[in-house]
Symmetry: none
Subunit: 217 residues, 2 copies
């Protein structure tokens, strides 16, 4: 699981980063709104922890910008208690949760976990392409209405690619999201799984751009 921590206060940012890394998350951090958006557009995160008071681009702006194109990603707002009422009131539910400073790290961690849980429990969803149907509740995949049996890793890879349909996903991203945090990032194991996955799917379902990553149309 990959988090983006956006916080300008150096010591707090560092504490959060270290805390989450220790818990096995992959963490990127940004110190202002501009950097946050840059990182957001160049990688794929599961949860964004976003301070409201930021230099350059305000946190609310960052939130709006991200929400404009992505309604799935979980965003947790951090804010000084005094700013909460007027600011949060105007958020219009763009954030999934918010937490007033100061807070206990444990509290933040619990909320992040809760958000991830909710994310995974989006159980009724089906992801489809022209020929594929992926039923996330049962983790089953159908090609032209006939079930194809996938292993856990194969399914995980396919689901991840389809959840980011049309976007480039690097091998590193795959390992980061489909494997647990102990996995080596330089293993070629995912290639083996992509290989066996491709054999079960129509040709050219999973495409590759040399040096950049994989994608599904």
């Amino acid at each position: 699981m990959k988090l983006l921590v956006v916080e300008d206060e150096v010591s707090l940012q560092s504490a959060l980063r270290k805390g989450f890394i220790k818990l096995g998350y992959a963490v990127d951090a940004a110190s202002d709104g501009e950097e946050a958006l840059e990182l957001y557009y160049s990688s794929v995160y599961d949860v964004i922890i976003l301070d409201i008071n930021l230099p350059k681009i305000d946190g609310i702006e960052v939130l709006k910008e991200i929400r404009k194109e992505n309604s799935e990603i979980k965003i947790l707002i951090l804010s000084a208690r005094s700013e909460l009422e007027d600011k949060i009131a105007g958020l219009d539910r763009g954030a999934n949760d918010y937490l007033a400073k100061p807070f206990h790290f444990k509290e933040l961690e619990a909320r992040v976990r809760a958000l991830l849980r909710r994310n995974f429990l989006t159980q009724n969803a089906e992801i489809t392409t022209d020929r594929l149907v992926l039923k996330t509740a049962l983790k089953k995949v159908y090609l032209d209405d006939i079930e194809i049996v996938l292993t856990k890793k194969e399914y995980g890879i396919l689901e991840y690619l389809l959840m980011h349909k049309g976007k480039l996903v690097s091998g590193e991203d795959l390992i980061e999201h489909v494997w647990d945090s102990e996995a080596e990032t330089f293993t070629n194991s995912f290639k083996v799984h992509i290989n066996s996955l491709r054999k079960k799917l129509p040709q050219d379902t999973i495409r590759n751009i040399r040096g950049q990553g994989y994608y599904v149309e």
Copy 2:
């Protein structure tokens, strides 16, 4: 099914705990609002029974806190009759049900069952498949109209799977919902119960996808 009982009055808490355990529920209990939130964040409950008058963090606060992030979980409020009007009036539909003290345990149990039903089914006290009928009020199971006798754990597992008919349920999920929080998540006890449960059911009733979980069609 797993309940969280939040009640500061020692004897009542203990009575509720024992009562629900006897009925085959997995039960955790908290004596104040802080403990309640801690437990809430560290486990997954199907219903929370929440007293309003609590030390440290007030029941209403606990309710708000939980509702902020989780709209699915069922919450039943307990309250002395005199407190009801002003407090409950302000709840604004945060709770799913409430019950005035004093009450009969039977009444509480019926309401909890109703909440669970609302959660998973639409107003039906029976869960059925083509050959099985499960009467949740009596906790009895019939196969082709003939009763099959299950132990509490066997029943709990089957009920949970049937309430999530067509969805994947991991072993961890099972332990989380059928056992109380003291259970080790890495025990293989549930496999033994599934094994004995399967012997009492038609073949292939409970299916497994390796590395992912169990399901009933």
